[in-house]
């Protein structure tokens, strides 16, 4: 019993004697750990690029060209254009409807923009994916184009 106690006591003294060194070593290790930086520099998320750089900002056809270049025509028809999709509603005269999104939104340019960005927020179970990955200015341009389809 006394031998065990002696061993423990010895260990305790030994520990106290070396504790200072350990703390110092620990701090050193900590500093080294701090120096190591992650190999990848933090990526700045790429600003959404204009999806159709050829169309100029204010040309009247820009809304339609954004509509087509982003694939909307695969689901929607707008008569007189290349958009001949049949999955979603025909939008040929969508600007003259009384309401949009199955009646939950007023027929305004702003409502079009909100619906295009996140249709799921207004129409549960909607088949259309969200296009909020497009730059806001492009969504606004598409909305202005849709509102003008009388």
């Amino acid at each position: 019993m006394s031998a065990n106690a002696g061993l423990l006591l010895g260990c305790a003294f030994w520990f106290l004697a070396y504790a200072g060194n350990w703390v110092a070593a620990g701090e050193l290790g900590h500093q080294q750990a701090k120096v190591v930086k992650p190999p990848i520099e933090p990526m700045i998320p790429a600003a959404p690029q204009s999806s159709n750089p050829t169309a100029s900002q204010d040309s009247p056809g820009r809304g339609l060209s954004l509509f087509l270049s982003n694939g909307c025509g695969a689901c929607h028809t707008i008569r007189g254009t290349e958009a001949r999709g049949t999955i979603g509603p025909d939008l040929s005269h969508v600007g003259s409807r009384t309401a949009i999104g199955a009646g939950v939104l007023p027929n305004t340019e702003e409502a079009f923009a909100r619906f295009v960005a996140r249709p799921d927020l207004f129409k549960p179970g909607v088949k259309m994916p969200a296009f909020d990955v497009l730059p806001q200015t492009e969504i606004q341009t598409i909305a202005r184009y849709l509102k003008a389809l009388q």
Partner: protein, 389 residues
């Protein structure tokens, strides 16, 4: 005379006798409890104290005690065997991923596990445990067990888990490669792993960074992809290539094969790589024999979609030079790659550019047959390749 007292039969002496009996009976239990208490509290405290004062040597120089090594081996092998029971191994391994897997092995695994014709570093040989030379030991494991080890790694050994959690297809490609490894000569291994990267510096454009050789291991010097599961990059849209590299670097698109080479590439190098591959001549389409009705079914989906199942036409985003440049062109792309990606989109295991969710929405409405047909169609399609560039 204790004997006569118990025989006397009086109530008071009876009680004493019962107490005695109880004391005698309790005695072994008391000792037993002491052991339990010591075991439950004292032993952990003792071990904790021993660890705290630094009794246990963590140096790797002297190796494990024999009993520790034996126990760790037993636990490791048993755990791999047991957990591999839940792995659903294919009957035959898909060999189409061999070049990519070999390239990954050369870059990520060979430093510890050795490769045909390459000596391992003395530092690696002093690791504890010493990483096995896989060419010699891979035969000890079944396919399912190898899958388990490659996918999840092994604790306390330094064996890491696969860098991408949702990419079982890549892990199976590694297993297929590991099966080949013992049969490979040094030359065969080099041909399989790094054949595509031996481009001379004169072939390169001045702005192309050195990391290009890493790309070429799998995508080939011509950018056409060295196997059917590796995408052809030649002639792909630059915006899509750049956004994809950024997505790999950020972890938005997961792949163990891409995670290693994409690490540490500077943003301007990424842009240079995207530009380089975008300017190469695009793939000319695959020569495989695919039944005409499959191709025609694929064309139908690509050009008109499947309206009754709400599948939009692929052409709406992927055919024509006037489409958003972040939408990739698919003409001449490998069918096996397209199939794999569509299935990953369908299970929402594939991110990518910020637009990935739009593709996932469409892919979720496709059956396996649809995916096969439409992938075959695009792999053959090349007529307006020049127009798309």
């Amino acid at each position: 005379m204790p004997g006569s007292r118990t025989e006397s039969g009086t109530t008071s002496s009876n009680a004493t006798a019962e107490e005695d009996a109880a004391r005698v009976a309790n005695q072994p239990i008391m000792i037993h409890l002491k052991h339990v208490v010591f075991g439950a509290i004292g032993l952990p405290v003792f071990l904790l104290l021993a660890a705290w004062i630094g009794f246990f040597n963590v140096g790797a120089s002297s190796g494990h005690w024999k009993v520790t090594a034996w126990f760790l081996q037993l636990a490791m092998r048993s755990a791999v065997r047991t957990y591999a029971l839940a792995v659903d191994a294919p009957k035959t391994l898909d060999r189409r991923g061999l070049p990519a897997a070999a390239g990954h092995f050369a870059r990520g695994c060979a430093i510890c596990h050795g490769a045909p014709g390459e000596l391992r570093s003395p530092a690696v040989l002093r690791m504890l445990p010493q990483p096995p030379d896989l060419a010699l030991t891979v035969g000890d494991w079944t396919d399912a067990q190898l899958f388990r080890i490659v996918k999840h790694g092994i604790r306390f050994t330094g064996m890491p888990a696969w860098p991408a959690r949702d990419r079982d297809d890549e892990v199976w490609a590694m297993v297929a490669f590991l099966r080949e490894l013992p049969k490979l000569s040094p030359n065969e291994f080099r041909a399989l792993a790094i054949n595509g990267s031996d481009v001379t510096s004169s072939d390169r454009q001045p702005a192309t960074p050195d990391v290009l050789s890493d790309c070429m291991r799998c995508h080939g010097g011509d950018g056409e992809g060295r196997s059917d599961t590796v995408p052809a990059l030649a002639g792909q849209k630059e915006a899509y290539l750049l956004a994809s590299l950024q997505a790999y670097a950020k972890g938005d698109r997961t792949s163990g094969f891409m995670a290693l080479p994409v690490t540490g590439i500077a943003p301007d190098e990424m842009a240079a790589l995207a530009r380089y591959f975008a300017t190469l001549s695009p793939a000319s389409g695959e020569q495989d024999q695919i039944p005409a009705e499959v191709i025609n079914g694929g064309r139908q989906i690509a050009e008109a979609g499947i309206p009754e199942r709400n599948v939009p036409a692929c052409a709406g985003c992927h055919i024509g030079s006037d489409k958003n440049p972040i939408y990739p062109r698919l003409d001449g792309q490998h069918a096996a790659y397209l199939e794999q990606q569509l299935k990953l989109f369908r299970s929402e295991s594939r991110g990518g550019t910020p637009f990935w969710r739009i593709m996932a929405t469409a892919a979720q409405r496709l059956t396996d047959d649809d995916i096969r047909a439409v992938s075959a169609y695009f792999s053959k399609r090349a007529e307006d390749a020049q127009q798309l560039r």
